[in-house]
């Protein structure tokens, strides 16, 4: 195995991680501020992808499609927050899990009702297609590189927002002490709607970005949702920094595990058995990682007292 391949795979792991971060950031913010477990976060990811596909089909513009995904997912987020989620904040986790599980059913079948049972078409624009040459002769997909860039910019933006802006102060206050923000004279229900819409928009944005290189279909959100949960649990629920670290960790573990594990087993097993065992183990690798982290740090790497 060449170093080149390893570097390229590391980039792939990074790209995967950055994408997971977009999902996980919203999830972790919503949990941190409102104390809500939102299983329907994956549905917002799907809404973003479908909206992007619909806008792209109508206008032919990828930029408009991305904007469409942001708006549609944020809007869906606001509607869901105001009608359902709002009633769940002071419920226990069990009620939240069940209610948002129900939302998944409604979102998935509703989307299928509107858009039909077949996958939709969404492609990246021509100006982001193809590959670029990186130093050391690494040929890498321009689009994936763009995703890494966008993801890092969004991460930086989030950190800035939380550290420097008014809304960020309110969010931090909310994470520390839910009663305190009421005392600060903040309109709590508006803040909650805003945070939820922000999380939804990020998820929808991720859905649109990824939909362009994957498949835009009903049910696309659930696998990503579970991964995003793994990410925030590893990082520590409520921590944006934890979400970023966790996302990159999961992205790298998954990608490099798929590459390396079969090879490791190939050292002492016959090739096809090694491929089989290695693949089995790599499909479990991130869950093993998560269990491992929780055993040593029961509230995640950067987890507080939740």
């Amino acid at each position: 195995m060449s170093t080149l391949l390893l570097i390229e795979q590391t980039l792939n792991g990074l790209q995967f991680g950055v994408m997971l971060f977009l999902m996980a950031a919203g999830l972790t913010l919503i949990f941190g501020v409102m104390g809500l477990i939102n299983l329907a976060h994956g549905s917002l990811y799907m809404v973003g992808a479908f909206a992007a596909a619909a806008v792209a089909a109508a206008t032919g513009s990828f930029i408009l499609a991305l904007i469409g995904s942001l708006i549609a997912a944020a809007l869906a987020g606001v509607i869901v927050e105001m009608t359902v989620i709002r009633r769940l904040y002071d419920r226990d986790h069990l009620d939240q899990v069940l209610a948002t599980f129900a939302l998944i059913l409604i979102f998935s079948e509703g989307t299928r009702w509107v858009f039909g049972s077949f996958p939709l078409f969404l492609d990246k624009p021509a100006w982001l297609s193809g590959t670029v040459m990186l130093p050391f002769g690494i040929e890498y997909s321009l689009y994936r590189l763009t995703i890494i860039g966008i993801g890092l910019v969004v991460a930086a933006g989030l950190f800035w927002m939380i550290a420097r802006t008014r809304i960020g102060i309110q969010i931090r206050a909310g994470e520390n002490d839910r009663e305190m923000i009421g005392a600060l004279g903040v309109n709590i229900s508006r803040l909650y709607t805003l945070v939820f819409a922000l999380g939804a928009a990020l998820a929808g944005f991720a859905g649109a970005l990824i939909g362009a290189i994957q498949s835009v279909q009903v049910g696309m959100g659930e696998p990503v949702l579970i991964l995003a949960f793994v990410v925030i649990v590893i990082g520590g629920i409520g921590s944006i920094k934890g979400a970023l670290v966790g996302a990159i960790l999961v992205g790298l573990t998954d990608t490099l595990g798929r590459l390396l594990l079969p090879q490791v087993f190939g050292l002492f097993m016959e090739p096809s058995a090694a491929t089989s065992v290695g693949s089995s183990l790599s499909s479990m690798s991130i869950y093993i990682l998560m269990a491992g982290v929780l055993l040593f740090k029961p509230s995640g790497l950067f987890g507080g007292g939740h």
């Binding site: 391949l5 079948e109 049972s117 078409f121 994957q214 798929r258 693949s279 499909s283």
Partner: protein, 378 residues
């Protein structure tokens, strides 16, 4: 329990000369909701189109949705057999659901006509006189892809499939007919959507071609990412990732890819031309591979109904074995294990106006039978 069992008895009373005293009741269990519903809908629509065209009063079809869950499929099969008292079962899309339903159904004396799945146990040791596969044995299209890859002069193939039984069958099938060597063999996670890691491995290998079996959304994701990766090795695959239902979602990324199929919409026989035209006018979309299989299944069934009474199992079985119907694939006959012996074509993905579709470019394997027939003792 009322509406969905779209019970379709034909409107025209004047049935064929060989009308039976009592009709045949068919139970169709297929995937109509959730992920993968598109395949089931196509099979159903193809099947019901044939039923509608025949306009028989002696054929009743009960349709149920298995949600792609094996336990639901088993439960529905029980219901069809115990409550509906059907004579024939059909409709299952997925191999794992077929493995859950078929052995029990045939053991209880029902006929099962498979419009899609063809797991190897049912073609070999687990074959049954009442089980007929109207589509293919699972390995068939992969074998043809292997054969074609050799014919096309590929020497080193990189092959990948999901890590589950059908995926392993696929790679085994490909290797069975591919004469070159392998540049790499990778099993991916079932349901995986990001293939950057695998594509990087392809790039790093010295392969001269790529074979993949990634049904449904996995194939869409792979093709889009592959097209964007700058790796431009020729790609071969079975028809599943290139059928009419998902080709539009892949778009230009699939153009030029060779895929193997026992059916294509440009097959030049009269039955097929009529089928494509009528499917399009009935449903407003092009038929897929799955629709053609559903259509053939219904016509096979009706041809047997014309020749024998379903209650006379031996006679009905013989009539099914004879397969005297106009298949949209042209010639169609069953091998000794009740799986098709058929020609598998190589298609290329092309663009016709706005629509992406396939055209036949070569014959992959002629009159091909499956590898498991010898294990079948019945």
């Amino acid at each position: 329990m009322k509406l969905k069992q779209l019970i379709l008895a034909a409107s025209m009373g004047l049935a064929a000369a060989a009308a039976q005293a009592e009709g045949v009741k068919v139970g169709m269990i297929t995937t109509l909701s959730g992920g993968g519903a598109g395949l089931g809908i196509d099979v159903r629509d193809g099947f019901m189109l044939a039923v509608k065209q025949a306009g028989r009063s002696d054929l009743e079809v009960v349709i149920e949705d298995d949600q792609r869950k094996p336990d639901i499929a088993v439960q529905l099969a029980d219901k069809m057999i115990q409550s509906e008292k059907v004579d024939v079962l059909t409709g299952i899309i997925w191999s794992n659901l077929a493995m859950a339903v078929v052995p029990a159904a045939t053991a209880q004396g029902k006929f099962y006509l498979s419009p899609n799945a063809g797991p190897s146990p049912l073609a070999g040791k687990g074959c049954h006189p009442n089980y007929f596969n109207v589509a293919w044995q699972n390995d068939n299209l992969h074998e043809a892809a292997g054969g074609y890859a050799s014919d096309a002069g590929h020497k080193k193939a990189f092959i990948l499939a999901p890590n589950y039984p059908a995926g392993k069958d696929a790679l085994t099938g490909f290797k069975r007919f591919f004469k070159g060597e392998l540049a790499g063999e990778v099993y991916t996670k079932l349901g995986q959507t990001d293939y950057a890691a695998e594509i990087a491995q392809i790039r790093a290998s010295d392969a001269d071609s790529v074979f993949f079996f990634l049904p449904g959304g996995m194939g869409i994701s792979f093709l889009k990412q592959y097209a964007d990766s700058g790796v431009d090795l020729p790609v071969v695959g079975p028809a599943f990732s290139f059928d009419q239902g998902i080709l539009q979602a892949v778009g230009a990324a699939a153009l030029g890819v060779k895929n193997t199929s026992q059916w294509s919409k440009d097959l030049g026989n009269a039955a097929n031309e009529a089928f494509v035209a009528s499917f399009q006018s009935e449903y407003g979309r092009l038929p897929s591979l799955y629709a053609s299989q559903g259509f053939d299944t219904a016509n096979l069934l009706m041809s047997a109904m014309d020749a024998a009474d379903v209650n006379d199992q031996d006679a009905f079985r013989a009539a099914l074995e004879a397969a005297k119907f106009d298949s949209v694939r042209g010639d169609f006959k069953f091998g000794p294990n009740h799986h098709p012996i058929q020609t598998i074509y190589v298609r290329e993905v092309i663009q016709e106006g706005d629509v992406f579709t396939n055209k036949i470019v070569a014959v992959g394997l002629k009159d091909h039978a499956d590898a498991y027939a010898a294990d079948c003792k019945m």
